[in-house]
Symmetry: none
Subunit: 226 residues, 2 copies
Amino acid sequence: MKILVIEDEVKVGAFIKRGLEEHHHQVDVYTDGMKGQQAALEQDYDLILLDLMLPGINGTTVCRNLRALEIPVPILMLTALNATQDIVEGLNAGADDYLAKPFHFSELIARINALSRRKSHFHQEQAVLTFADLQLNTHTKTASREGQEIVLTAKEYALLELLLRNTGKVLSRALISEAVWGLEFDTGTNTIDVYVNYLRNKIEKGFTGEKLIHTVVGMGYVMKQK
Amino acid sequence: MKILVIEDEVKVGAFIKRGLEEHHHQVDVYTDGMKGQQAALEQDYDLILLDLMLPGINGTTVCRNLRALEIPVPILMLTALNATQDIVEGLNAGADDYLAKPFHFSELIARINALSRRKSHFHQEQAVLTFADLQLNTHTKTASREGQEIVLTAKEYALLELLLRNTGKVLSRALISEAVWGLEFDTGTNTIDVYVNYLRNKIEKGFTGEKLIHTVVGMGYVMKQK
DNA sequence: ATCGATTTTAATCCCGCTTTAATGCCCGCC
DNA sequence: GGCGGGCATTAAAGCGGGATTAAAATCGAT
């Protein structure tokens, strides 16, 4: 598993890293809350170990931020012994479990296993939508093709996600309109067409891969190959 | 779920009713085929349990009638053991599954669950319309015959879908005009004829399969075999 | 409040779907 | 046999849907 550790005490962080690596996990350690949060957003971690007592930004805040951005990674809090108030706060902020310091390493391993099992069962929404050589990360809200990262605006992303969740199906403008813009949007303008054009420019123009968004005249648009 | 039971043997009916009610379903029992059919039309059932051996009207007939009236409720037939002929007839009449008497109650429950799941998920609406060896996929908006994909324009697709949803019925030009083009289209031109010709070229010409779109002089067009 | 980015509107161009219309064919009827 | 009605077939005209572009309006951050 790929694990992110956010822990300001360098020794403790190193200790955890070493121990987890012995269990064949890949571990990144950040001592700074903001840097850690950034990493959580940019990379695709399977688990986050989060110390609540951090300099600068509070661990609870990091947790709340990640959940607000709908990052569903399991979060295991590390707290001082008997910090009942912190524990309650942390769980309310969206953490999945906690562990009081100091702890036995075997207990940490046990909780990590339990958590990842629990999460992988419950929350198995596909994080990365893939079609042909195009990928869309629903966490980072970015696409990529041929290793190139593609930055999208909100509407572009929503439209691309809709197309990718319905590959092969012809989607009518009415359906697209409702899904991306919300009910009763059609005011005789061609907004959808313009956005399809934007998307094509971003995910097709400049790439050697084939055309993916196809127009079906009089019917709508499809995401398909060939 | 709201379940309709049509079963002439009073004891069997009562037995089923009691058992289903223990599983928190709401059950109506009719011992008469005609009365049962009437109830099916008037009320909104989630499932129909239909005995094939009924006094007066045949269970198969009830089934066929309901399907002819486009009542899409899942129908589970109850048949005598080894009544293979009945089973085939029943399924052809539009039933979704069958259960041979006598049966274990747990099997009945299992089949009811499977059926309701299948219907609610899949049945959304039939995605692929099939007639003879011709298929029309309403998602991809393409037809296929003998494994060959056939690309259609918007009007061609609308016309073909109309014909396939009314196989066997003769459709007047007025009706076609209204369904495909919208009200009051007829302005003395022969657009419909031209499109029927386009369709014939695409789905009949070049295929070994038989003719499917037939002209009824003075009346309109039908999709049928023979 | 200001500036940049995003979203929406609007105008123009072009391809090919849609429609029209002319011709050919089959059949029944005078 | 000639004629006309109903449909099939074909080709050409027109028109509308969609691509593209740019400008206007709106949003959001500082």
